[in-house]
Structure formats: structure tokens, C-alpha cells
């Protein structure tokens, strides 16, 4: 199910390493990006075949890492940090607030598939807590007002 374009990208990745296997993590990133930000089994199998690895091995690696999504996610994947710094400056309240606004719980996706709400473990922005990651963007020093603006902005995209 992977396209020629994806394989071309994987070729450039393979060139960076002494072994084909080492290109597995970056190849899975490419496959995920090309597939609405998640990895169906078929995509993992294609990557496995291309890198000369067993499909079970690739699945075993993919399931180890939280950022490879093994099921579809919404267009905007909200990951709100709730670890021990963000927690004490209001992360749980923010998560409840976002969940209330979107009508979803943790780990759930809105029926229109626009938003998925998740918790994240330490995003490494502790000096600017609380924070969340949406796709490749970090939002820091969050307040409920700021979150409302971000949600309204994302809803338009």
C-alpha cells in the first residue's frame, strides 16, 4: 500500500546507515506520515518487505514506541503533558477542559475525526509548563483561554 514516493524516501534513509535495518524507525515515520498519521498492518508489512525484515519483527518494534499510532487518529492529535511538572501547574484541569469542550475522554477521537485527545508523558518543556503537542507543534505556558484559542484555530483547519 506504500507509494513509489514513500519508497524513494526510504531509499534516502537507508543511505544514512551501515545496515538496512537501522532505517526502520525513520522508515516507519515516513510510512505513518504518508498514511494519515497512523500505521496499518499492511504499511508495516510493506516496510518490512522493503527492508528485508520479518513483518512480526517490524510490528514488534512499532508497538514498542508510543508515537507510532496503531489505530487511526484525528486530524489534530492533541497530546497534553500530565507528568509531575505540568500536573501541579494545571494539566489535569486543562485535559478535563479540553475533553469537555470536544466531548471526548482521554484516548478518544471526536466523531467528525477532527480531534484526538491524549495525555503525554513529559514533553520536555518543563520550564514552560503546562504544555501540549499537536502534530509537530508545541504549545507552551498554557491557560484555559489559550487552549480555547488554539482549539478554535485548529477547528478551522
Amino acid at each position: 500500500m506504500l507509494t513509489e514516493e514513500v519508497y524513494k524516501k526510504i531509499d534516502t534513509l537507508i543511505a544514512k546507515y551501515p545496515t538496512k535495518k537501522a532505517a526502520l524507525l525513520p522508515a516507519l515515520w515516513v510510512a505513518q506520515a504518508a498514511n494519515d498519521n497512523w500505521l496499518p498492518r499492511e504499511a508495516m508489512a510493506d516496510v518490512a518487505k522493503y527492508l528485508g525484515l520479518a513483518p512480526a519483527y517490524v510490528e514488534g518494534v512499532a508497538t514498542f514506541y508510543t508515537m507510532y499510532n496503531k489505530a487511526p487518529v484525528g486530524r489534530h492529535h492533541l497530546e497534553v503533558c500530565h507528568n509531575i511538572v505540568c500536573m501541579v501547574v494545571g494539566a489535569d484541569e486543562l485535559i478535563d477542559h479540553i475533553g469537555g469542550k470536544l466531548g471526548v475522554g482521554r484516548g478518544e477521537t471526536t466523531p467528525d475525526r477532527k480531534f484526538t485527545l491524549n495525555t503525554a508523558e513529559c514533553l520536555g518543556a518543563c520550564a514552560n509548563a503546562p504544555c501540549m503537542m499537536v502534530g509537530d507543534t508545541y504549545y507552551e505556558d498554557l491557560t484555559t483561554e489559550k487552549v480555547d484559542e488554539i482549539l478554535a484555530d485548529l477547528a478551522r483547519k
Binding site: 496503531k70 507528568n83 513529559c122 514533553l123 520536555g124 518543563c126 503537542m133
Partner: protein, 449 residues
């Protein structure tokens, strides 16, 4: 920022556009590379030795010993792997450094690779750090364009290629051997450590001599070469060459209930009180300080009577805690210790790679007991059970992740952790149930797992 804190890494932090190579070059940029390429390997490693630099990722291992361990005259390829998998809760300094000063890291990598005769450098960046990775990639591309990377760097005959490798969300990959597994396309699980296996400097990635160093450690090679190791070592605590010492400066992430959270460069040995009350501006909303965590989530918390401890490896070690990665987290009087520890135990249970039983089973057991206490079903014997489990994880797990889960609760060798200092809070919760404030701790949610 008090003026007496010299800024070696952050010297040009505030210069607009310093992430661009043209601006960077106007501010001593790549001077250290030019200088290093005129020195031989031994001379560079000697400067690092004189500087007293210890690994800034958490372990504090003397950097020159690692570098010196690389075999001489081997025809195998050598690798430098930069650990940019910053996942310790409380730590955000490497992200800041990569975002703001990407060329400092690239320059440090070139010097380090020259010192260990490595022709390939991989910067392993945690998957979440997409923006820092872009900054580093941009810096690498610019460095290639100016001839600081690639074939025959500055006419020295030295070839070097540098690559960014993205992780995909696993705290465990910050562990040196797990990081190497991950780089090679495997699950990020730790490998055997010596004596049952060779050190990475002999057999690391792809069975080749490998150095794994933290981002800050590698970046520090730049000021060390620029100013000389002896000059760098002029600040700090302890006497260089006479036993363990904490020389130079350290990047810290100051977070939690302080007025001015941020990433700061401080001289090692600055008292914690000065960091929290002067650099950090004191406690938010002028509340009372309840405790602080000195070096990231795996280091045992300390109550206010330790405020005058110098922020260095030895002094913090003596308190029964650790300097760790330099993540000083500050908590005010409103924080519930059992609630905080519950969240933390969920984190470690989730991040345990599952390779060894003490960590895999132990962390989940710690979670279950904490959840029960938080839900109002705690039993008096639970507190000693938590300590017992922690003590059975500590020192028995395959890598340091198990220790990292046990230490916050039960402490390090001195045995002073959260339960030692705040046992009454646990007892009260158990006596009164959840005190009407039941809070279910939702475990980490992920798509499709």
C-alpha cells in the same frame, strides 16, 4: 540572572539569529573547530581532562575517560552518538539548547568526532522534538555548505558525516545501551553492561567503537577548546585532579512553583537557595516551599532544610539525592506527595521496557498500591510494602530505569525518599480514606494500544 554566573554555553544565547550560521560565525562560531583541527587527538582529550567535564546527561561520568577508551589504531569505523533523547520529567535544557544554539551542538560534534577519530555522527533526538530536530538539520546543512562537514574539513584531511535520527516515544531510549538498540532499528531495550559485555567504546553500535554522550556534554567541548580546559575548570567545586569534583557550569531547567521558571546556566556549586530564590525569583504566589526535586524525576526529593546545599554532584550526593540531569523542580505547600508519586509511578510503569522482572512487575505493583491509596482503599501495611518493593527493584533491575522508579519513593543508598520525608501524608490518606477528594488517575492513553 546574577552577574557572577559566567555563561560559557549561553554566552551568545540572546543574540538574535544565532541559530543561523552567518550570525554564529560572527560570534566565535566554529573557532573551536578550527583550533581543534590543529591539535592532535591526545591534546584534545587532555583539554577535556583538564576541564574536569563530567557527563551532563545524568550519570556524571568523567567524559575524558570515555573518550580515552576508544581503541587506538583500529580499522573499524568509530561512531559518535549524541543522546538527545531528553525524557526525564523536569528536564528541558537540551531541547532549549538545540532550538536556540543548534550550531553549538554541531560544532561540539565535529570536535568530539575528531578527538575519537569518528567519521560518522548520529544525533538521536526523541520523536517529540520535531522542532529541535529541524533546527539541528538546518545547522547540519549549513555546516556542510560552509565546509565544516563532509570531505576534507577545512583542508585538514578529516571527513565527517552527521545525521539526525528520530526516536519515536520511549523514555527508555535515553539509556545508553537502549538508545543504541533503537538507533540500529530495534526495540529500545537495554543491553548487558560490563563485565558480562564489552563497553560501548569497544563494541557499541554495529559492533564498532562508539561514544554516547549527552547534548550538553558535547556542546561543552566548544568552550573547553576555545578557552582551554584549565580556564574552564576555574569555576566550580572541589579541586581538579584531587578526587571527584564538579567543575565548570551546568545547564539547569528550573520548573514548577517558581516565579521565573526557565533554562539557566549556573556555576556548579551555586547554593540551591540562590537558584530558587534569586535566579527563579522565589516561590510563585509567595507560598511556602514544601520540597524540591534536585535533578529530575528519578532523584529523591529534598525538604527545605537542604536549601543551602551547593548544587554540585558531591554535595547533592551527600544529601541522599543526586544532581542527575540538572532538572530542579520546585513544589509549594499545596502539593500532595502521594498524588505526585502516583503520577510518577504510572510514568515509570508505562515506560518500563519489560525486559527484566523487577522493573516490569515492580513498577506496576507500585502503581496498583498507589492507586488503591488514592482511591481511599489504602491499608496501613501498604507503606512498608511500597518501601519493600522499591528496595527490591533498586539495584536488581537490568538498567537504571528500575532504580529511577524506586529512588523517588525509597531513596538512594541513604534511604531517604518521599516516604521517609512525607510518611505522615501517606498515613493520613490511608487513615481517612481519600478524605473526600477521590481522584482516579487515568493511565496514559494512546491511540490503538
Amino acid at each position: 540572572m546574577p552577574s557572577e554566573q559566567p555563561q560559557y554555553l549561553y554566552k551568545y544565547r540572546q543574540v538574535p539569529g544565532i541559530d543561523d550560521i552567518d550570525v554564529y560565525l560572527k560570534h566565535e562560531g566554529y573557532n573551536a573547530v578550527r583550533k581543534a583541527l590543529t591539535m592532535d587527538q591526545e591534546a584534545i582529550i587532555n583539554e577535556v581532562k583538564l576541564s574536569g567535564l563530567r557527563g551532563r546527561g545524568g550519570a556524571g561520568f568523567p567524559t575524558f575517560i570515555k573518550w580515552n577508551g576508544i581503541p587506538k589504531n583500529w580499522d573499524k569505523p568509530h561512531y559518535l552518538v549524541v543522546n538527545a533523547d531528553e525524557g526525564e520529567p523536569g528536564t528541558a535544557k537540551d531541547r532549549d539548547l538545540m532550538n536556540a544554539l543548534p550550531h553549538l551542538l554541531v560544532e561540539g560534534c565535529i570536535i568530539s568526532c575528531w578527538a575519537i577519530r569518528s567519521k560518522a555522527c548520529y544525533i538521536y533526538i526523541r520523536g517529540e522534538y520535531i522542532q529541535p530536530a529541524r533546527q539541528i538539520q538546518k545547522a547540519i546543512d549549513q555546516a556542510y555548505a560552509k565546509g565544516f562537514l563532509g570531505k576534507n574539513i577545512l583542508g585538514s584531511g578529516f571527513d565527517l558525516d552527521m545525521y539526525v535520527h528520530m526516536g519515536a516515544g520511549a523514555y527508555e531510549c535515553g539509556e545508553e545501551s537502549a538508545l543504541m538498540s533503537s538507533l540500529m532499528g530495534e526495540r529500545g531495550m537495554p543491553r548487558h553492561k560490563p563485565p558480562s559485555a564489552p563497553l560501548p567504546v569497544i563494541s557499541g553500535v554495529w559492533d564498532s567503537p562508539t561514544i554516547v554522550n549527552n547534548v550538553e556534554t558535547i556542546a561543552t567541548a566548544v568552550p573547553i577548546i576555545n578557552m582551554g580546559g584549565a580556564e574552564y575548570a576555574k569555576v566550580g567545586t572541589g579541586t581538579p585532579g584531587a578526587g571527584p569534583a564538579s567543575r565548570g557550569t551546568k545547564l539547569i531547567t528550573l520548573s514548577g512553583h517558581v516565579k521565573k521558571p526557565g533554562n539557566y546556566e549556573i556555576v556548579l556549586g551555586t547554593p540551591v537557595r540562590e537558584i530558587i530564590y534569586e535566579i527563579g525569583g522565589g516561590i510563585k504566589n509567595d507560598k511556602k516551599l514544601k520540597f524540591f526535586i534536585p535533578g529530575g524525576s528519578s532523584t529523591p526529593l529534598l525538604p527545605p532544610e537542604f536549601l543551602d546545599t551547593p548544587y554540585d554532584y558531591e554535595a547533592l550526593g551527600k544529601t541522599g539525592s543526586l544532581l542527575g540531569s540538572g532538572a530542579l523542580i520546585v513544589y509549594d505547600e499545596t502539593v500532595s506527595v502521594p498524588a505526585l508519586m502516583t503520577r510518577l509511578m504510572h510514568f515509570y510503569a508505562h515506560e518500563s521496557c519489560g525486559k527484566c522482572t523487577p522493573c516490569r512487575e515492580g513498577t506496576n505493583w507500585l502503581v496498583k498500591i498507589h492507586d488503591r491509596i488514592m482511591a481511599g482503599g489504602g491499608r496501613p501495611e501498604d507503606i512498608d510494602l511500597l518501601l519493600d518493593i522499591s528496595n527490591n527493584i533498586f539495584g536488581r533491575s537490568f538498567c537504571a530505569l528500575g532504580d529511577a522508579a524506586a529512588m523517588p519513593l525509597a531513596g538512594f543508598f541513604a534511604g531517604k525518599g518521599a516516604i521517609y520525608y512525607f510518611r505522615e501524608e501517606y498515613e493520613e490518606l490511608i487513615r481517612n480514606g481519600a478524605g473526600g477528594k477521590k481522584r482516579a488517575f487515568a493511565p496514559l492513553q494512546m491511540a490503538g494500544v
